[in-house]
């Protein structure tokens, strides 16, 4: 009933594969796998899908299917690269668009094809670029956030100065600082950039200030430019709020040329037990593919809920081979305990940005001295 000319523009034959974990008994899980093939592509009842290229090529294919544990199966489903239109947004849609609306299905891992990886540029800096920028070899990097919300821009800048004098490598806006009346974006970014540049002049260091530019479309672009011009050393954005395409937009703008740090706000709902997207795929593979140079996420053993294994899997996604797409820095935070650094080292090695907060204020009465203490710990780790 649908008129379709089976001749199509030349198709590459290239497919990429998504590994889904599916809850249920074998019959249920296989039926879910079969459903994903249609739901994520033609979104059409199977019996109505036109024969030929659409049925044989456009529709997803179950390539492997096996039991994972007592109550779940893994299905490797391949999709023609053309279904993604070679765009990050449509790639996300093929991987998880409508599947997100059906519980019991989870994206575990994405096996990108070579051709697809060539389309996406990934991060401009990555681990090696950030190390070059900061002039730091052979040790983890020490970062902290400017807060609490409610301080004025000059109070935040004064904190930034102390942190930089004390030897912190990366000083970022807290992710809740945007453009509030008590600290306007432009004022804050100008003062904090200046404070860090001044401290660097005094210490000879290469500390950077990271401006949070999470905002709506037009503002995000304007804030990125302003931050660049003011002397900020990197940009932070929360892709759960802006969409991952904001990250790639920033990473691809060569006139900015700044590292992009992703923040996990509003993304937590994806990393569920049995549904959603795995930690590895979300905070590792997709964050990296979209072009972030470093990924902030809640560390294990802190005030959030990620387990040690989940954090390990993020480390895998951030560093495993992925064509020409550079490995990115891990930036665990959210209640880091510095006495646990040896434990963290086991999981992350040295390519890690330790994001510490409260401890810088509570260790002793002097913030600069506290920073020096933690910097010493890191230096010798």
């Amino acid at each position: 009933m649908i008129i379709h000319d089976p001749s199509m523009p030349s198709l590459s034959g290239e497919r990429f594969t998504v590994v889904y974990s599916l809850k249920g008994d074998e019959k249920e899980a296989f039926s879910m796998a079969h459903d994903i093939c249609f739901e994520q592509t033609v979104e059409f009842p199977e019996e109505l899908v036109p024969e030929g290229t659409i049925k044989d090529y456009i529709t997803g294919k179950v390539e492997e299917f096996y039991r994972k544990d007592e109550n779940s199966f893994h299905a490797h489903i391949s999709f023609a690269v053309e279904t993604t239109a070679f765009e990050l947004t449509q790639l996300l849609n093929v991987i998880f668009g409508n599947v997100s609306l059906k519980p019991g299905r989870k994206v575990e891992y994405i096996k990108f094809s070579d051709g697809l990886l060539k389309i996406f540029k990934g991060p401009l800096f990555g681990v090696s670029g950030i190390r070059i920028l900061l002039g730091i070899e052979g040790r983890p990097i020490l970062a902290t956030a400017l807060k609490p919300m409610g301080l004025s821009s000059s109070e935040l800048a004064s904190l930034a100065y102390k942190f930089a004098i004390g030897g912190i490598d990366i000083i970022k806006d807290d992710h809740g600082l945007s453009d509030q009346p008590f600290s306007r974006f432009e004022e804050r970014v100008a003062l904090c950039s200046e404070a860090v540049i001044k401290a660097n002049r005094e210490t000879g260091g290469r500390c950077i200030y990271v401006a949070n530019i999470t905002a709506g479309f037009t503002e995000l672009h304007k804030r990125a430019r302003f931050a660049k011009d003011a002397g900020a050393g990197a940009l932070m954005v929360a892709p759960g709020i802006t969409g991952f395409s904001a990250v790639s937009y920033l990473a691809e703008d060569k006139s900015l040329g700044l590292p992009i740090i992703s923040h996990p706000a509003f993304l937590g709902s994806y990393v569920q037990e049995g549904s959603g997207i795995s930690h590895r795929a979300l905070f590792g593979q997709l964050t990296r593919l979209s072009g972030a140079d470093a990924v902030i996420y809640p560390n294990f053993g802190g005030r959030f809920s990620f387990s040690k294994d989940e954090c390990k899997s993020i480390a895998e996604g951030a560093s495993e081979p992925m064509g020409n797409i550079k490995p990115i820095f891990l930036a665990p935070g959210g209640g880091m305990k510095l006495e646990k650094i040896p434990d963290y080292m086991d999981v992350y090695g040295k390519d890690v940005i330790y994001l510490i907060g409260g401890g810088l204020f509570t260790h002793g009465p002097d913030i600069v001295e506290n920073c020096k203490f933690f910097r010493g710990l890191i230096q010798n780790s």
Copy 2:
């Protein structure tokens, strides 16, 4: 240890309130509520929060706390409107940014304050505007999607023509159609717009074609403009992929002046049992606040998992009083059964866009006749 001048720029005193549902016994749930007050604002250990305005005003406040059922409590937590910077992105962050990373906490409902509602414009059209645009009073609206992916642009346009001739009111791109080699965006949008305009000329109808412009930052803007110029009658975007700020960006661009229809792809992970964001707040309140004129979501009894009560709650969020922000159209889809229209009417009333798919192809051998049949059903419903 933090130097803070307690004098602040003039603050309004206005607060808005988020109702969270919290899992656990009373002590656990109250501790979660208390934690949210800090986590979503100052993100700072309580004992370090500077006295004065920051502690008294910037920090969230538990306004009400009561048992909801055996294993959960409701906390009404108020936030100073200034914490949102009067921006959609930072508002989303205050409501659910870091909370998303902590399971057992769910956004049930948002009580916006008057001042906050004045900042956000919401939809340009809403229910009344879409009715005026389509010239339809007193009956539900009939919509369908162009698919399957893999058809050429001229094949899709030919389908669009038949649908329009048959009396469908709204014909939208399937949400997986973006800019694939088998149907390039500009070619498809030009041909489908033209096909629907031609059909309208013949029928005297006012059917509209809706272009899916879900894409990255730069492309989204370009595609919106192209669709407008080509004669498309509305734009569709998936805020789960583009971010909700893409919706407000489009709604606020007066030079476009087209209705915006939101698609639920990639949003499903938020509507979880016990965590995430409620159907009412996500598909109702937040979609509406961001400026969508109609919200697509999976209907109850179809191939997705939303219950009748959840769908009812979306209807509430889409139409309850919300300052000057217009009520928006519900657009349930995903396996609609036309014989169930009386049941749907009970839940939705007449202000609903029925999004039907497969039935238009399977009811009988002739697509135009099938459309007429369903249009007849709707007309008399």
